[in-house]
């Protein structure tokens, strides 16, 4: 029984820390349940408490180390440099799409759909992964599109790092595409704050999710098609 209590307390504390940027209430409830479980252990068998506390501390320490030293670097590892020019003779406009593909296909599908939509509207599109080789001189582009997975309630670090490398966006029109497992709300705030701080002209932030249908937003559940249609609409309204 105390093994189960240790697992629950450890899990509760870990989730409490993880939930903090997402929901303070959820974080509080999670930590509260863990504390209640500890109180129950102390009430049932006080001598077991040091063991439960020690095991919990070890678990939480290992979880924190694994999360920060393995998982975060793995998910935020910069993709190999890849710069692709599409529709080089496009005349309607020029767009630079910089994205971090992440560890699922969703973000790559979304930005490729967006690129296809712009190309369909006769835009010249440069598609680049977010790393040191991605173009930082935006003078030749009318639109900057940034695409990032949401990891622990924030946009992927390579995209944030890229935007900081660019620095002042000088009022350049910017569109962001955020992908997430089921929630991108907190990452939206981080992205909007960053783009605003860098003096970008944020036109819109679009969302695609892995376990959450998107058809209510875009009329289709296919992220590639949804972003393609979105880009076509954006291009049609451009300059109006």
């Amino acid at each position: 029984m105390f093994i189960l209590a240790t697992i629950l307390v450890s899990f509760g504390f870990s989730l409490g820390v993880l939930a903090w940027p997402y929901s303070r209430a959820l974080s509080g409830v999670s930590v509260g349940i863990s504390l209640a479980m500890l109180a129950w252990v102390a009430w049932r068998q006080r001598t077991a408490l040091p063991g439960v506390l020690g095991s919990t501390a070890v678990f939480c320490l290992l979880a924190a180390l694994g999360w920060n030293l393995l998982l975060m670097p793995w998910a935020n590892h910069e993709a190999p440099s890849q710069i692709e020019l599409r529709n080089a003779n496009g005349t309607a406009g020029a767009a630079l799409i910089v994205y971090h593909p992440g560890r699922s296909e969703l973000q790559t599908e979304a930005v490729n759909g967006f690129a296809e939509g712009l190309v369909a509207a006769d835009w010249r599109v440069t598609l680049a992964t977010a790393n040191a080789a991605a173009p930082t001189d935006l003078a030749a582009y009318d639109l900057l599109v940034v695409g990032a997975q949401s990891y622990t309630w924030a946009p992927a670090r390579p995209v944030q790092a890229y935007l900081r490398r660019v620095g002042n966006l000088g009022g350049k029109p910017v569109v962001a595409i955020l992908s997430g497992l089921g929630e991108t709300g907190p990452a939206t705030t981080v992205m909007a704050d960053l783009l605003t701080a860098l003096n970008g002209n944020l036109l819109n932030i679009y969302h695609v999710w892995q376990i959450r249908p998107i058809d209510e937003l875009y009329g289709t559940d296919d992220p590639r098609l949804a972003m393609r249609q979105t880009a076509v609409s954006l291009a049609a309204a451009w300059g109006k």
Binding site: Y22, E105, Y151, R212
Partner: protein, 162 residues
């Protein structure tokens, strides 16, 4: 009548499995949490009631495991279908359950340090992802669940070969 209540509670998880799968498919986190919470409650209550009423049986315990498997497997199947989890994870769950059935049926004694807690770990992972739908958490849980499954399978295989 009272002696059938534990089995009825266990059977209710088959209905909850369908309700949970639909809620996950439509992404209704509130409903999904409700069905998940009810399933956890019935899982705790059926065993406790069976012991209180003195109606514990091997068949009842097996039925309990089958309904847990159906509920958890169908929930993760929705996420596999959505692309959040790899298809091999469903095979791994099926393999684990097959191993459990085989060892339960033959009555072999096996030393499995985590098998007993694996169902609870799957329930916890499901609840955690419903509350915190984040990519990194899903990767961490997948790694943890796969590691636990590997330990469970290895320990059972090792004991079979003794």
């Amino acid at each position: 009548m009272a002696r059938h209540i534990p089995n009825l509670l266990t059977a209710s998880r088959l209905i909850l499995a369908a309700l949970l799968a639909v809620a996950l498919w439509q992404y209704r986190p509130g409903w999904a949490l409700l069905w998940w919470g009810t399933a956890v409650l019935t899982d705790v209550l059926d065993g406790w009631l069976a012991r209180r009423l003195g109606v514990c049986s091997t068949r009842g315990a097996l039925f309990d495991a089958v309904t847990d498997f159906v509920l958890l497997w169908s929930a993760f199947a929705v996420w596999v279908w959505r692309g959040a989890y790899p298809a091999w994870f469903l095979l791994l769950l099926a393999l684990l359950f097959g191993q459990f059935l085989l060892s339960a049926r033959r009555g072999w004694l096996v030393y499995d340090p985590v098998g007993k807690y694996y169902g609870a770990a799957l329930y916890a992972a499901l609840g955690a992802l419903l509350l915190l739908p984040d990519y990194l958490l899903s990767y961490a849980l997948l790694a943890g669940l796969t590691g636990l499954a590997a330990v469970s399978l290895a320990s059972r295989l090792f004991m079979y070969n003794q």
